[in-house]
Amino acid sequence: MAVYKRSYRGYAGPLTEEWSRFAIIPRYAYRGLFQSKIMTAFFVLCFVAPLVFLFLIYFANSWGRIAAIINERGSASPIGINGEFFIAYLGFQCPLAFILTAFIGPGLISGDLANRALTLYLARPFSRTEYVIGKMSVLLVLLSLITWVPGLILFSVQAALAGGGWLSQNLWIAWGIFAGSWIWILVISLLALALSAWVKWRIAAGALLLAIFFVAAGFGEAINAVLDVRWGKLINLGYVFTIIWHSLFRLRDSFEISPASAWVMLALICGACLALLSRKLRAIEVVR
């Protein structure tokens, strides 16, 4: 037997469970991310608005006592804790989640592709799907922590303070917070990952993510003005999300496009992002 065959020993130790293997990516990603002081400071800043909303909930529920102090007995609280209140909460937190995504997302895949490191992952018992889920979970966890998690805590606090039948009558608001946040998180995370894989340069991918939100909105308005139509709003992602949130929170405002077309638009965007990821994330490399 050749000497090298005698000295070589393949790894025979325990393996992590297949279902949890993707977690290796976020574990190391967070360590790197929180080394940035700007990132840490911004992440902390994202919890200021939930604290303000918490105070508002307390204020609204304590209105009876406050009114007594200021001699306004019997008057209604100036703040109503309802669907509109929580949609305003999402209106604060989701843009913050977008900024966080623009900061983190573009670098998630582009670095691996630019340094030709993708094969290092895929040469191990680690599939492309696990790779994408791993990368995406970096965003999913962080964005959840600043959107629906504090949102549901606020909802629970309100339910506890309001008492009575408030919880049973307004359970759909909890669903609205949860689903509205998740839709936002999923779409912007997929967009960020797809752009990161497409552009391979973190800075350009970040610029492109901003451009998709701002330029598309501007061009949508241009389409409406020049062609005298309304469907230009479909490429205004902010507007599309507003429609979806309003439908989830059962608000009956009128919009220029229907909720159904907004849902279709989001499905198309997600489909395009997945197709792009599937095309770009391969274990082989084509040199042009």
Binding site: R202, I203, L208, L210, A225
Partner: protein, 279 residues
């Protein structure tokens, strides 16, 4: 020291332009800039085509206002803005990332000459792209107007001045935003966050007090636009009306700001080190 360095510097700038312009204009990765630049033109040509097909009479006044709004709110603030982000931030930082900047730094070229060459290449490329986009969009405005009316507007109604005004403003936007983003690429490792802040600042411009309005590129560019665009929308009542800067102040003001930016960039490029590992 070379007694006539200008000749050498000119030859070196030409060599840099030959290398850079091809990279910006012909690269596949730059296709999105063409998309940004020509999207309004495509839209206006579709509009012209539909009008011609259905035999509708075009209202040149209304179309001019639509174009003015589109030029100011989409073209200047978004298309040229992001186009310049892509091109000018790529000039040095992009090459850092591709690990090819050292080839320039290993040539007998003054760093300042390299900066000027690269900046000029960016200005030429973006101006060519965005001025062509503007010209094509303007052509679409006139193509579905009766020939006599178009000629009258162009040669007797000041239309030619408007066309030149739009083209000049587009070129100046490339000069101004180019300077801003070139400096940013030196000052920040990830220039996207400051670029986003600039975008927000420029977008807030209509609502800023008169004094603050003047600390922006868009204020001078809008002052140069031949047709003022009205502000619509939910927040239009908050807009602050300010007298536009006259052209004799707006153009030198913009060039001065750009020059100051380039001076700062020149200081940075002189001390630039190659350390690809940290990118």
């Amino acid at each position: 020291m070379n007694p006539r360095p200008w000749n050498l510097w000119r030859a070196q700038v030409e060599a840099i332009l030959r290398l850079e312009i091809r990279k910006t204009l012909l690269a596949r990765r730059g296709l999105w800039i063409y998309l940004l630049a020509f999207a309004p033109a495509v839209l206006l040509w579709i509009h012209a085509g539909l009008n011609l097909r259905h035999g509708r009479v075009c209202d040149l006044g209304k179309d001019s206002l639509i174009f003015a709004a589109m030029f100011q709110f989409f073209y200047l603030r978004l298309a040229i803005f992001f186009g310049c982000v892509g091109v000018f931030m790529n000039l040095f930082r992009g090459e850092m990332l591709e690990k090819s900047l050292h080839y320039y730094l290993l040539a007998p070229v003054r760093r300042e000459v390299l900066l000027v060459g690269k900046y000029l290449s960016g200005v030429i490329a973006t101006s060519a792209i965005f001025c062509s986009g503007t010209a094509l969009a303007l052509a679409a405005l006139f193509v579905h107007v009766p020939r006599a009316a178009a000629e009258h507007y162009l040669f007797a109604g000041g239309g030619l001045g408007h066309v030149l005004g739009y083209l000049g403003t587009a070129a100046l936007a490339c000069v101004g935003y180019g300077g801003v983003f070139l400096v940013m690429s030196f000052l920040f490792r990830n220039p996207i966050i400051p670029a986003a802040l600039v975008l927000v600042w420029e977008s807030m411009n209509p609502f800023l007090p008169s004094l603050l309005k003047k600390i922006s590129v868009i204020f001078y560019l809008q002052s140069l636009c031949p047709v003022p665009a009205p502000i619509h929308g939910d927040w239009s009542f908050l807009a602050v009306v300010t007298e536009p800067a006259p052209a004799y102040l707006a153009v030198p003001g913009l060039l001065l700001v750009t020059f100051a930016g380039l001076l700062l960039a020149a200081r940075k490029v002189r001390r630039l080190e190659i350390n690809y590992g940290t990118e």
